[in-house]
């Protein structure tokens, strides 16, 4: 949407090589990307293309082997609460209740004096993700969809500028996934968070994104950046049989199809399983 908006995160020439013993894998090569204020960027690519790696680098959990990575012009040197992250496997703290999980980040920085304010904020988040009846439950009692809602609320609690999401709905069944996509659109509209979202699902990318960054098979490079020039709140892609939406999906299929074949051929050749 807003091509003129200020960039928050800038990646220049980002590359990543993983070294294990004598074996080394080039995961990313020369990635140049700007994430702008308020936009929803989807990283789309075949499995093993390094899209999650790119996300972890943006988060500050992995250091890039080459290139320059900045947020508001300052180099990113490690994780920061300014960049919240949501993982595919939820990564909830299993010994804490839903409330305590959501309050975790706030509890670290807010003194006891702010307890009332903190409680109010956690309450609001519990309501936002619709888990009022489960605030005192521990994660193992929740379904996959509920767990991911807790993870999203926990990330939003500390009010990060950017939300990074690593295939957050990948572990959910199709129905739950549909519901969660819709809910994420609502939350994104409510909070206006800048979001970087990793997926290998084309419909998911087309449904959620302002821009889809299509990555090549390993080593991951940017193949094309596809702007989705449709209004947001595309609640459900099945309702969007507009010609334009299908056109976009067709284009993404075309871009990704060749890469998936390459990625599979590469696996056959090297005899190694891909990791995303």
């Amino acid at each position: 949407m807003s091509a003129e908006a200020a960039p928050i995160i800038t990646c220049q020439g980002i590359g990543k090589r993983f070294q294990t013993g004598d074996h080394s894998v080039l995961a990313l090569l020369d990635v140049n990307l700007e994430v702008r204020q308020g936009e929803f960027v989807v990283l789309l690519g075949p499995s093993g293309c390094g899209k999650s790696t790119l996300l972890y680098i943006m988060a500050g959990h992995l250091a890039p082997s080459t290139g320059d990575l900045r947020m508001h012009g300052e180099p990113i040197t490690g994780p920061s609460p300014a960049r919240g992250i949501v993982f595919q496997d939820f990564a909830l703290f299993p010994w804490l209740t839903v409330r305590e999980n959501i309050a975790f980040g706030l509890g670290l920085r807010w003194a006891r004096a702010h307890a009332a304010e903190r409680d109010a904020r956690v309450d609001a988040l519990v309501r936002m993700v619709g888990l009022q009846g489960f605030a005192a439950a521990k994660p193992h009692r929740l379904s996959g969809g509920m767990r991911q809602r807790v993870a999203i609320a926990r990330t939003l609690a500390t009010d990060p500028e950017v939300v990074l999401m690593d295939e957050p709905f990948g572990a959910l069944d199709a129905q739950t996934r549909d519901g969660m996509q819709r809910e994420l659109m609502r939350i994104a509209a409510e909070t206006r968070k800048t979001t970087v979202f990793v997926t290998h699902s084309i419909p998911e990318a087309a449904l959620l994104a302002d821009r889809v960054v299509v990555l090549t098979a390993r080593p991951g490079r940017i193949k094309e950046i596809v702007p989705i020039d449709l209004p947001r709140m595309r609640w459900n892609w099945r309702q969007e049989f507009s010609g334009r939406f299908l056109e976009i999906i067709g284009h993404l299929e075309e871009l990704l199809g060749g890469e998936i074949q390459k990625s599979e051929a590469g696996e056959m050749e090297h005899g190694v399983g891909a990791t995303s």
């Binding site: 920061s80 990564a91 703290f93 975790f104 670290l108 926990r154």
Partner: protein, 266 residues
Amino acid sequence: MEWALRAKQQRQLFLGTLRFCQRFYSLILFVVAWELIARLINNPLFLPSFTGVLGVLGQLLVSGELLGHTAVSTFRAMSGFAVSALIGIPLGMAMGWFRSWENFWSPIVSLSYPVPKIGLIPLFILWLGIGDTSKIAVILAAAVYPVVLSTYAGVKGTPTYLVWSARSLGASEREVLWKIVFPYALPHIFTGLRLAMGISWILLFAAEMVAAQSGLGWLILFAERMLDTPTVFAALLTIAILGFVFDRVILLTSQRLCDWYLERTV
């Protein structure tokens, strides 16, 4: 109406007893077999009967003798156990978290773990004297290993995503260690503590049989010399019961604190 109520109560009592028997039927079977065999042999010096041992146990309790020995032994065992927990948990955490600690301690632990600690008893007596200190030191030397190793394994097993999540929420390295790694490792730490508790009792009796004037270990040795087999069995039974009770205490505490671990489905 009243008879119906009474019948219901009786039925509940019956069902309760039945459940108890089901739960501990192996123990009941063991005790019955012991009693029968002892009565067949009919030689208390060789094998006293279970009821006979209970009688002796009662006498020792009434005379107050047993209580004194039990108190002394429990103090020694618990001191050794507590010190192994106080040293073992932080050491295991540091080994699991800091590469430098792992590099330094790992070979030492591997090398010293198989050394039979009972064989160290004379050395500890030489260095620390004949009192409680040497006994506690022997217990520590043996019981610290399961605590260190299980804490270490628990810390090593902490999923990267939990650590990353905490860091992205603004946790410092110290907060990651105490608010994420420690609670994640806690169920494993409790397993180590249970093992350490058993080892503490075993080592205690070994130490008390070498050099002591009191304690249940000494009582066993003394009774053996007097050819008083029933008292030997009474002391052994006391040890078993103490070990059982303390193990249950740890188990219940861990169930309280680690419900998430025991009830998890995936």
